[in-house]
């Protein structure tokens, strides 16, 4: 994942990195870590929604890391 900071001003970039495969176990895309609903809503969503999704992505990244590596 790119090191995008969701609190940075300006347009919010798409989290898509081209993997585009939903994980059955987690219900998340294995590339961008979004739910199907978050992906489907993204295109028409306001910036505030997108920033919140990015914060959620960061939380999911953290919880997928092994215990020892978590910040």
């Amino acid at each position: 994942m790119t090191r995008y900071d969701p609190s940075a001003p300006g347009p919010v970039p798409s989290p898509c990195i081209g993997v585009c495969r939903m994980e059955e176990e987690t219900g998340l895309c294995s590339g961008c870590l979004r739910t199907i609903d978050e992906i489907a809503c993204w295109g028409g969503a306001p910036e505030a929604f997108k920033r919140e999704v990015w914060r959620e992505i960061r939380r999911r990244e953290q919880s997928r890391m092994p215990e020892a590596k978590r910040q």
């Binding site: 898509c16 585009c20 992906i39």
Partner: protein, 301 residues
């Protein structure tokens, strides 16, 4: 500007073009279907957004692999009616991969059928809104725009993005493309557009600024067609890299010898030794931050 309640923009990446879903009272429709390797994802997104309904109608703005690669899967899942640009009817009916772009670009697209044709000036009802089909040659000779005058919404496919437009492929093969690309930009400039939904990237409202950037970009490319060829070969390789994720540099050197459009662009404009071209493309992609080299492999970034 928010979208009408009957429209959903499924914003994808670069390997798959965006899909625009319409949820009309009587009928649902989808414009463009992404790349074949993302078909399961496309089905999942469309199925989720349809929320129990079926897909009635499928439309393609043009038949590049990233816009119609999901057609076969959607047709299998929904038996949806499909409309394609009229000029492509014979090529699709006979599945002529030479007339279609897939052999030339080294890209994949599974065969699909169609039920109707779209021509410049046709009118459609999508999402309970009236849309007009407009011819948009340049990037592709048969490409179409969808224009909703009442809402001021333009589905621009690859004719206009927030920053640029799709590769002007006809010029790579020695056919006219710059003139048509400019005419299409001016056609768009003449419409009262409030929101553009492009084939790639986010929807945007500052159409005037996007058109200005596009005009300057076109000026740059047209001033020396070598530039268009340089852009074209980089984009073609980047596309393959998006699909494959990583490739041996030795395989890249094979691509420049085998992918017909890479061969054509090189012979006609770039005139480099094959290995030198492959190495140049890799270096350019790395410089642009679009790739990295790791242990003899070109890796997508």
């Amino acid at each position: 500007m928010t979208l009408p309640a009957s429209m959903r923009l499924l914003e994808r990446g670069w390997l798959s073009a965006n899909n625009i879903l319409f949820l009309g009272r009587e009928e649902t429709a989808l414009v463009d279907s992404g790349y074949v390797s993302h078909a399961p994802q496309t089905l999942a997104l469309v199925g989720h957004a349809l929320d129990g309904r079926k897909l009635d109608l499928l439309i393609n703005t043009h038949l590049h692999s990233d816009h119609c690669g999901g057609n076969a899967a959607l047709q299998a899942a929904y038996a949806c009616r499909t409309l394609i640009p009229a000029a492509e009817a014979t090529s699709v009916r006979t599945w002529d991969e030479d007339a279609l772009s897939y052999r030339a670009t080294g890209q994949q697209c599974p065969r699909f059928g169609f039920d109707g044709l779209l021509r410049d000036g046709d009118r459609l009802r999508l999402g309970d809104l009236d849309w007009r089909v407009l011819a948009a040659p340049g990037h592709d000779p048969h490409a179409l725009l969808l224009w909703c005058e009442a809402q001021g919404i333009l589905l621009s496919a690859d004719a206009l993005w927030e920053n640029g437009f799709g590769v002007i492929f006809p010029e790579l093969e020695g056919e006219s493309g710059f003139v048509e690309t400019r005419a299409t930009l001016e056609l768009i400039a003449g419409l009262d557009v409030r929101l553009v939904i492009p084939g790639h990237g986010p929807a945007f409202a500052d159409v005037r600024a996007a058109l200005e950037r596009a005009r300057r970009r076109l000026d740059f490319l047209e001033a020396d067609p070598v530039r268009n060829a340089q852009n074209g070969v980089k984009v073609l390789v980047k596309f393959r890299l998006l699909e494959r994720r990583r490739v041996e540099l030795s395989e890249l050197r094979q691509w420049v010898r085998e992918v017909p459009l890479l061969v054509t662009a090189n012979r006609r404009y770039l005139r480099m030794e094959d290995d030198a071209l492959a190495d140049w493309i890799a270096l350019q992609l790395v410089r642009a931050g679009a790739a990295a080299i790791e242990r003899g492999m070109l890796v997508d970034r």
